[in-house]
């Protein structure tokens, strides 16, 4: 077997599945090369390469992929079709742009390393995930035995990561803890030094990418706000929320944002809900209006929508957040 360098763009599903991918590749004896955190240069490159009408996350992905050119033997860009059977017809998928992403990438840039675009469609059954990893491992020249072992280990690390998220760690911090192989701490009961609890929902690749959202989570932390996101909620609770809607949406990440928001709306200690949306995101045009209406219907919970795009300035985000937080504190004091 030849040792390969696997390039992983630090965006999109990275924030959710990176421990799984990384462990798998490394256990197989390959090297993982991660693109740098989003920067002006990466964004500019993405804007330049991607089709003009695409949304920011797709442009970002192009930028991250371009940054891996010359540094890796492969770019790992799985074609994310579905990860579960969900929705009114069991047909939940990722956004159409994700479905076409590997093809878009190939046609946009000539100088990219070979793309590993294994199709991930898990709605068919439990065995599918194994098939996906078997395909990747075989492509890289590993034996069935090695792949099996790496897959088992990878799933274990991913479960640990998941547990950290359920313990209300935010993905950037959880990724660091996993990286340092610190044993998973028991649930932190100290409470911290916050005096306000707010939920922030949105796509992981917008929510946890500090560049593209102009440091939103850090600003909230500085404001002494405890932040909850949809990724801290169990699947079972998500499914319970799904039943309260006339119909589920079709897109995995959108559904998670919606169910997460609906869940937080019924927790009295969470005083406001923020929806972080990506400029020109098709599904978000629906998500945002739905959440706005539901937040009014479900207990008139204060709701703020912030859209980010390629020229979001920190000043703009800070102003909106500070005003929202001030309003929440004022409301509470008046009660």
């Amino acid at each position: 077997m030849q040792v390969s360098k696997i390039g992983i763009p630090r965006t999109l599903a990275y924030f959710i599945y990176f421990p799984l991918w990384k462990t798998f590749f490394e256990e197989l004896g390959h090297e993982v090369v991660l693109s740098a955190a989003t920067s002006k240069a990466i964004l500019d490159r993405g804007v330049k390469e991607a089709v003009n009408d695409a949304c920011i996350p797709i442009k970002l992905y192009h930028g991250h992929a371009a940054a891996l050119a010359g540094k890796a033997d492969y770019i790992f860009c799985p074609r994310l079709v579905s990860v579960r059977s969900h929705g009114d017809f069991g047909t939940e998928t990722f956004c159409p742009k994700f479905l076409g992403l590997p093809d878009m990438l190939r046609l946009a840039m000539d100088d990219l390393p070979e793309i590993i675009d294994v199709r991930v469609d898990l709605k068919k059954g439990k065995d599918e995930l194994w098939q996906v990893f078997l395909e990747i491992g075989s492509k890289l020249g590993n034996s069935g035995e090695e792949i099996k072992r790496a897959f088992t280990k990878a799933k274990k690390v991913q479960r640990e990561y998941q547990r950290l998220l359920y313990q209300e760690k935010l993905p950037p911090e959880a990724l660091e803890l996993i990286e340092q192989k610190i044993p998973v701490p028991k649930k932190d009961k100290s409470g911290g030094s916050y005096d306000l609890q707010v939920a922030v929902v949105g796509y992981p690749y917008v929510l946890y990418d500090a560049y593209i959202n102009a440091g939103l989570l850090a600003i909230l932390e500085k404001e002494k706000v405890k932040v909850y996101t949809q990724d801290m909620i169990s699947d079972r609770e998500m499914n319970r929320q799904a039943k309260t809607l006339p119909k589920s949406m079709f897109w995995y990440f959108s559904n998670r944002a919606v169910y997460g928001a609906l869940h937080f709306m019924q927790r009295p200690e969470i005083e406001g809900v923020i929806h972080l949306t990506a400029f020109a995101c098709g599904p978000d045009s629906m998500v945002d209006r739905l959440l706005e209406i539901e937040s009014r219907r479900r207990g008139n919970r204060p709701y703020l929508s912030i859209a980010v795009d390629e020229h979001t300035g920190e000043a703009g985000v800070r102003t909106r957040l500070e005003a929202f937080v001030d309003m929440l504190r004022y409301r509470r004091n008046r009660k």
């Binding site: 009408d53 159409p96 079709f250």
Partner: protein, 366 residues
């Protein structure tokens, strides 16, 4: 009950007949106008696509006219359109309109729900099962007749001697279908209509350019949404063939249905299907039009339409490999007729020059 539905091309003629003969009162949706769009833009999310906004406007207009129920289609995704009815219900409720949106989800997904909704329509109108089936059948025949007539008009118009004659013949022909009440009458109306179109005075010496129209279903099917693009083309002397008709999937006689699986055709370029809406179709259809000797293709899509953006990013490669020019027109509420016309005229000039050169080369080759 007072029932309405979205305006989509000339299908309202068949749907009006359907609602009336189910024993309900039909509120015919007006052709989308500037006012419709203004209303739609005002109440829709900013980044919703233009079909959503036009439908919002239409629903508010029919609600104003007293509609109590709006019949529409659902969908299983991943195109946004399948979620429209839910959002429209939310919006109508918020505005305070007492209208119920009933969506027919694809019967393959949920047959029971589909039959239940039909059953309720039948019972509330007081029809026997037999009569009900007959009404559905005639409606379907009408839709097919309307499509046949419309299709023919696009093939005739580039030859018309006097501007407007085809359009007038089209209206006359549609009137025949409108007035038909029995199956044999619909068939007769269809034949008569086609004859009227055939009777338009034509200059057969012309050699029109052939253009394929592809893209997202609503902006392709609703002429008012695309600034009457196909009529504009016809009056510029261009023969246009479009990939989608409501009766499409039962057809065997259109370019797009000639070659079986469109997804298979697109596969070398997009290794995934479906991706929602007509995204994959747009890629495959460009290939088919090229293979059938068309001079060019226009891709019509709402601004920010997700599946068509994927298609657009891939079409340049198809266009290069198959040597067929493609013009993409993204439409939103700011799109003006003048802009569409300028681009089309320039595109027609481009196609003309290409055809000239191609023929020259062919002559030399001989």
């Amino acid at each position: 009950m007072k029932i309405s539905f979205p305006h989509m091309g000339y299908s309202y003629i068949a749907l009006k007949w359907l609602v009336n003969h189910l024993g309900h009162e039909c509120i015919v949706p007006p052709e989308p106008s500037k006012k419709t769009l203004d209303l739609g833009v005002r109440y829709s999310p900013e980044f919703a696509c233009i079909p959503f906004k036009i439908l919002t406007g239409t629903y508010l207009e029919v609600a104003e006219k007293g509609a109590e129920i709006i019949l529409t289609s659902g969908g299983m995704g991943p195109c946004r359109a399948g979620y429209y009815w839910v959002m429209h219900q939310y919006l109508l409720d918020e505005i305070g309109k007492k209208v119920k949106v009933i969506a027919f989800e694809p019967p393959l997904c949920n047959l029971r729900d589909f039959w239940q909704k039909l059953h309720r329509l039948r019972v509330s109108g007081g029809l026997s099962v037999k009569a009900f089936i007959q009404v559905l059948k005639i409606t379907w025949e009408k839709i097919k007749a309307i499509d046949d007539i419309e299709m023919k008009s696009y093939h005739i118009r580039p030859y018309e001697e006097k501007r407007g004659e085809t359009t007038r013949a089209l209206w006359k022909a549609l009137e025949f279908v409108d007035e038909a009440n029995r199956e044999d009458e619909v068939d007769e109306a269809r034949q008569e209509g086609l004859n009227v179109l055939q009777g338009v005075r034509r200059d057969e010496s012309r050699d029109p350019l052939k253009m394929g129209i592809i893209g997202e279903i609503y902006v392709v099917l609703e002429p008012s949404a695309n600034h009457y693009l196909q009529i504009m083309l016809g009056e510029m002397g261009v023969y246009s063939d479009r990939s989608i008709y409501l009766s499409s999937y039962t057809r065997k006689n259109t370019i797009v249905n000639l070659e079986g699986d469109i997804f298979q055709v697109a596969r070398p370029y997009l290794n995934e299907a479906p991706i929602g809406g007509h995204g994959v179709n747009s890629i495959g259809e460009t290939i088919l039009y090229a293979r059938h000797g068309f001079d060019g293709v226009v891709q019509l899509a709402p601004f920010a339409c997700i599946p068509e953006i994927v298609a657009k990013s891939i079409i340049p490669a198809v266009s290069r490999d198959f040597d067929i020019p493609v013009l993409t027109l993204f439409i939103d509420e700011q799109t003006g007729k003048a802009g569409v016309q300028t681009r089309l005229e320039a595109f027609v000039d481009l196609m003309e020059k290409r055809r000239e050169l191609k023929r020259q080369r062919e002559r030399w080759a001989i």
